[in-house]
Point group: C2
Chain length 394, copies 2
């Protein structure tokens, strides 16, 4: 396998904007995308006329709303015609892929200003249909068709992790408690509400051992960032945030094909590539937004991203070091669990949280001295993983 | 609007492969994608280990088969893990967008060898469901929801074109006849069968004035090309085909919002950008694959791409100049009409036909002295248009 090379141009984030995450009965997919897009353009202090391309992550507009071709919808309703518009999709990592394509487009030399967004409207269909739509992220022929659901898939991972590494039911619950503590401080989070370990443990069982409060919710939302060449970023903002790494890896679509279901090899490989691109190690990361679609996923992410040794993710959450004020605060936004998980928008919302933290603009959730942050966005049960490293340092 | 700039690196096509287009009851989406991918890798004379990224166009795996996340599926079943895999979507132009992202990725400097594919499995659901899935390409809230179908949308365009420019019913039929004449010579075409103007005119009425034989079919199929930096292309093939332009533009998602429904402004703008990038004019193009989802669409494309004056597309088909042996042969592959239209694969199949023609490898369909060709891929009723120019000249 040939290693990837350096980008021809460095890229910076110069603007961010998002809707509140939640159940938006009065807003359609296009209205949310427009709200996030306008906020990002205003934040960047540019005009819509400066934007040369739109890239939009959207997992399943077709199954959730009937609407495919959402990239053209974005360009149209944002008043950006005739610029090119591209939709990217890799299940719940669709947003991070939009980020990657935006970065590649600027590095290619062809485009300077690219609006990169993500959107998902999930609440227009009823719950079981949403579960069916989401199952398009796993191997439909060999998993979903035979009745597998995502809580079931991640429950298998949790069972194995608990068996092999003595990870406890309480440690899983602590992930949810921490993320709700953070989401409580985030005005755009779906659930601004604290919960206790006892509440997690007594919430309804979904797929043993995972309970309702171990699972990220069904969410509507949109998020947008404006990318520009690093060279010009300071013209537009006093606090540009530079992209130090954009890395992605793939693994088997089905969980049962993996060599070890407690390790997301795609995350390990994407992280390896990202650290190499940035010339950094896990100890250099001040905070991270990781893909906590279920509580067990955050524990695996600690290990796969190098923040804990293999099997010691449960100990890391228990140590308190991933809380605000800890050594490596994780999911200061509230994560997918508490901020919400509009699947196509999540990858961009993660970028936005890191940008706000690096700008010192995260309010009560601010991580003191945050200089370098990471995002980790996963598609399916780990067939796709995307890792970005962002920094105040050029 | 800021104009796009030159790519940092030139790109070439070094390998192509596709399945036969048709109704493949014995092949799933993944099996078709694997067949096309392997053929392309073999044609390029490289190993799968050389490939650093996969980009896959797929319009609606979710609605057609339940399977989203098809990019990871491609990487997995092609044995290419852990390289990154990105799905692109813009309705029927999803394939051409994959081509664009592959080109941008190489120009970015990060990747050298990128496999760019397209796939669609459309026949696993019954006809009316396929029509519903396809309607996700138009404005779902303001068109599809109120009963619009694509034959209906293009029928409106045809009615207006016939009223305004005296385009005749027979001229529409001639597009289908020409494309079936070409498809008759193409071993991978869905319909290798000649038809007559009389047969078109007596085929069942679908949406007045469009009849069954004015419409492209429901098709299964996959197509893949291998891209590499232009600098190294000659190491892999004696007949590299260079990408001279990759251009894309957007227009309103809904037909009724257009200033003139007989002109696809996105095509006009994408063509303007493509000609500018390549430093070429319509007279320099030796042949083109254009988006003939309905016969009227090919007539509009003649005008919007600059091969005929506005309103004179009907005269151009009647003149015979777009037939094999004419001044500007169009859709030598058989086009969407006769070769078939697996929506996510079509944009890549168009590239493949041009590559084969420029290599002198198009058998009985060969255009003598073909040096420079164009592809034109449309999403929806023209909300997205993508134009590529390929040439034997670096």
């Amino acid at each position: 396998m040939t290693e990837e090379a350096k980008l021809n141009r460095d890229v910076a984030v110069i603007g961010v904007g998002q809707t509140k995450f939640g159940e938006h009965w009065s807003q359609s997919m296009r209205e949310m995308a427009v709200e996030a897009g306008i906020k990002a353009v205003e934040d960047a202090g540019i005009s819509g006329h400066d934007i040369q391309m739109v890239v939009g992550g959207n997992m399943s507009g077709g199954l959730f709303t009937g609407q495919e071709h959402s990239s053209a919808m974005l360009a149209d309703y944002l008043g950006l015609n005739p610029i090119p518009a591209i939709r990217t999709e890799a299940a719940c990592s669709s947003g991070a892929l939009a980020m990657r394509v935006g970065i590649l487009a600027i590095a290619s030399g062809m485009y300077d200003f690219v609006a990169v967004g993500g959107v998902e409207k999930m609440t227009d269909i009823y719950g079981p249909q949403a579960t069916t739509a989401l199952s398009g992220a796993m191997d439909y022929e060999t998993e979903a068709y035979f009745g597998a659901t995502f809580p079931g898939i991640y429950a298998l991972i949790a069972q194995r992790h608990m068996y092999q590494y003595k990870t406890t039911r309480e440690q899983l619950a602590m992930v949810a408690v921490k993320n709700h503590d953070n989401g409580f401080l985030n005005p755009v989070a779906q659930y601004q509400k604290r919960i206790t370990v006892g509440e997690v443990l007594s919430s309804p069982l979904v797929a043993d051992p995972l309970r309702l409060l171990d699972c990220s919710p069904i969410t509507d939302g949109a998020a947008t960032v404006i990318l520009a060449p690093a060279d010009v970023a300071r013209k537009y903002t006093d606090a540009p945030v530079y992209v130090k790494a954009t890395a992605q890896a793939s693994d088997t679509l089905s969980l049962f094909s993996r060599r070890d279901i407690t390790t997301l090899d795609a995350t390990v490989e994407a992280a390896r590539r990202a650290y190499k691109q940035a010339g950094l190690a896990p100890k250099d990361i001040n905070l991270a937004e990781v893909h906590d679609c279920f509580t067990i996923a955050e524990i695996c992410a600690y290990e796969d991203l190098g923040f804990a040794k293999k099997g010691e993710g449960g100990k890391l959450i228990q140590s308190g070091q991933t809380m605000l004020g800890g050594k490596i605060p994780i999911n200061t936004s509230g994560g997918l669990k508490s901020k919400g998980h509009p699947v196509g928008a999540t990858g961009i919302a993660q970028i936005i949280e890191i940008v706000k933290q690096l700008r010192g603009d995260a309010g009560k959730r601010q991580v003191n001295g945050a200089n370098t942050g990471m995002t980790h966005n996963v598609g399916g049960s780990g067939a796709t993983a995307v890792v970005h490293i962002l920094s105040r340092d050029r």
